[in-house]
Amino acid sequence: MDKNLKHKSNRVNSGIHFMLGNYAVVEGALAVGCNYFAGYPITPANEISELMSKRLPEVGGIFVQGEDELFSIYSIIGASLAGAKVMTATASAGFNYMQEGIGYASAVEAPCVIVDVQRCRGENFATQADVMQMRWGASGDYESIVLAPSTAQELFDFTILAFNLAEEFRNPVIVMSETTIALMRERVKIPEKESIEIYKRMYTSLTPEEYLPFKAKNNSPPEFAPIGEGYHNLYTLNYHNEDGTIDWDAQGYKKLYQRITGKIRENKDKICKTELCFLDDADVAIIAYGSEVRPALDAIEMARNDGIKIGMLKLITVWPIHENLIKDIAKNVGRIFAVEMNIGKYAREIERICLPFCPVSHITKNEGIIHTKEEIYKAIKEDLS
C-alpha cells in the first residue's frame, strides 16, 4: 500500500463502546473491509457520512460526498465493478432516488450495501414505511436482500452481514435502519479482528479468453473479473448474454432473470435469519422486525404475566421473507399479530402466508412514533378477549 497512507486508526475498533447507532454502521462497514463510500447529506443518516469521511481515509479507503443520491448509488456501483467493497447511506427521501441504481446493480450483479435510515413526515420521525420499497422499488425483475436491525449492536453486526451477503450473492443488500435506532446510543461490543467473518467475492481463475462475465451455475452468481484487468466486460442493464453482449432473445432473457432472482429465491434458507422468542409453548405469536421488536418483547412480558402464552418471531432478514418458517409457526398457533410502524404493509405479506392456517391481526402505527409496550399489549388483549 502507498507509503503516504497515514494509518491513524484501526479498521476494527475492538472493545465495548457506548455508541450511536449510525456510528455502529460505520464501524461494521470498516471492520468487514469497506473501502469506498459515497453519500449525500440527509438527516438522520448524516453521522454515517460524517464518520466515514474521517475514518475511511485513515484505513486506506476513499470517501466522496456527491451531488445527489443518484451519484451515490452509481459511483459505488462503478467502484464495486472495479473491485471495491462499497456502501452508501441515506434516508427515505434519498432512498427514492437510489431505486434506479439498485435495479442496475441487480441486473449487472454488482455487490453493494445501501443503508436506508427510514424517516417520515419529511423529518426524523420514526417509521418502517419503506419496507415494500426495499423489496421492489426499482423497475424490472429482481429480488432484494434486506436486513432489519433493532439495536445499535445489530446495526454493527448486520452491516457486516450485509457486506458478506452482497459479496457472496453479487446483489445489492439493504440495511433497513430506522430513526429510532440510528440516533440512539447503546452498548456496542466490537469483537476482536480475528473473529470477524469476512466473505471474499469469488474471483475467476479463468483467462480473459476463456471467461464469460455472466456465465454461472443455476441460481448462482457468476465469478467476478474486475474492470481494468483485460477482461473487457460489458455491464449493461439491457438483457445480456453470458458474454455480456446485448441480445433480444425472449428465452435468454427469461433464463437470465431466472438465475438473477433464483440465486436469492432458491437460497432463502441460507440467507434468511430469524430469532425465535418464547415460541415453544406459545398459543399466539407476534411477527415483528426492526425497532418494533423492542416494545413487542416488553409487551410479551406483560401478556405472559397475565397468563397469555405468547411468543415472537423476530425477522432479521425481512426480504426474502422466510416463508416456510412463518408457515410452520402459523400452523402451530391460534393467531398471529403483525406488528409494524406504518399503515400495515408487511402485515399483508404475513397474511398471504398465514391466512390459510390462522387469523392475522394487524398492530400497526403510523404516527411517526414507535409503539409503546402498553399499546401492543392492549391490542393483543383486546383481540383475544
Binding site: 452509481y74 462503478g78 455491464y235
Partner: protein, 272 residues
C-alpha cells in the same frame, strides 16, 4: 484476392459488426475517429474503460473491446467517478449524447467538471434526442421543429462547451464529423490530458433531426447544414454576438492544468 480487414477491427468487441446505427448516422464515424486516436497513441486498450448511458451515442461502447458500462440514462459521470477514484491508473472515456450528458445528466456534468474529474467525455451533439425518435433537446436551436416542438422550440440553446469552461473543465473543444482530422487530433489531446476533458462533436442525424427540423433525410444535406453554420473560433472572434446567433463555433476553448479530483483519501499524493 485476399479480403481486406480494417486494422481497427481488433478493437471491436468480439470482432462483431455491423453496428445498429442508421445509415448516414455520425456515430459510426465517431467510433472510428476514437479508434484512430487510440491506435495512433498506441494506448493500452486493457486500461481503457468506456462508458455509455442510454441513447444512440451511448451504444458506441458496446462495440468496443474494453471494459464498459451501459444502459442507464444520464449517470455516466457518477459511474466514472467510482471507477476512476478506485482505479486512477485506468483511462475512462464517456460517450454521451447531448440529452444524456446535459439534460438528464446535467447535474453530474456540472459537478464532475467543477471537480476536474480525470475523464474524457465525447459528447455527440446531434441536436436532438435521437433514439427516442427526434424530440427537442437542450442543444436544439431556437424555433426548430422536432417531434415535441411542432410549433418550433421556444427554449434557448445550451452551449455545452461554454458551460464546461465556466464550471471548471480543463480541456474543452468542439468539432464536427465533417472535420475528421481536427476531431481526431482533439480526441488525442483529450486522451493525453490529465483532468476533465470534453470534446463536443457536432454530428448528423438524418433519420430524426434531419427529417423533422431540416425536412431532409439526406445525410449530405444535414452535414452541409452543420458545416454552413460552423465557424472557426479564430474567425468568430471578429463577429458580433448577433452575427454568431445560431452558429457553431469550432475550436479549442480551454487547455490548462489543475489538480484532479481524488475524493477524500490518503492513498494518493497531492499532485500537480
Amino acid at each position: 484476392m485476399k479480403e481486406k480487414i480494417n486494422p481497427l477491427r481488433k478493437y471491436i468487441r468480439n470482432g462483431k459488426l455491423p453496428h445498429f446505427f442508421c445509415p448516414g448516422c455520425g456515430c459510426g464515424q465517431i467510433l472510428s475517429y476514437f479508434l484512430r486516436a487510440v491506435d495512433n497513441l498506441q494506448l493500452d486498450f486493457k486500461k481503457i474503460v468506456t462508458i455509455g448511458g442510454v441513447g444512440c451515442t451511448a451504444r458506441i461502447p458496446i462495440y468496443l473491446n474494453t471494459d464498459s458500462l451501459h444502459g442507464v440514462h444520464g449517470r455516466t459521470l457518477a459511474w466514472a467517478t467510482g471507477i476512476k477514484l478506485y482505479r486512477p491508473d485506468l483511462k475512462v472515456v464517456i460517450f454521451a449524447g447531448d440529452g444524456d450528458l446535459v439534460s438528464i445528466g446535467g447535474n453530474h456534468f456540472l459537478h464532475a467538471t467543477r471537480r476536474n474529474l480525470d475523464v474524457t467525455v465525447i459528447m455527440v451533439n446531434n441536436f436532438n434526442f435521437a433514439m427516442t425518435g427526434g424530440q427537442v433537446a437542450p442543444t436544439t436551436l431556437f424555433n426548430s421543429v422536432t417531434m415535441t416542438t411542432p410549433y418550433g422550440s421556444k427554449e434557448n440553446t445550451l452551449d455545452v462547451c461554454k458551460l464546461a469552461v465556466c464550471a471548471g473543465a480543463t480541456y474543452v473543444s468542439r468539432w464536427s464529423t465533417a472535420k475528421p482530422i481536427q476531431t481526431i487530433k482533439a480526441i488525442k489531446k483529450a486522451l493525453q490530458h490529465k483532468g476533465f476533458s470534453l470534446i463536443e462533436i457536432l454530428s448528423q442525424c438524418p433519420t430524426n433531426f434531419g427529417r423533422y427540423a431540416l425536412k431532409t433525410s439526406d445525410t449530405e444535406e444535414v452535414l452541409k447544414w452543420i458545416e454552413n453554420k460552423s465557424i472557426l473560433k479564430t474567425k468568430a472572434k471578429k463577429l458580433s454576438e448577433q452575427e454568431l446567433k445560431d452558429r457553431f463555433v469550432l475550436g479549442e476553448f480551454i487547455h490548462k492544468k489543475r489538480p484532479v479530483f481524488q475524493g477524500t483519501t490518503f492513498l494518493k499524493e497531492e499532485d500537480n
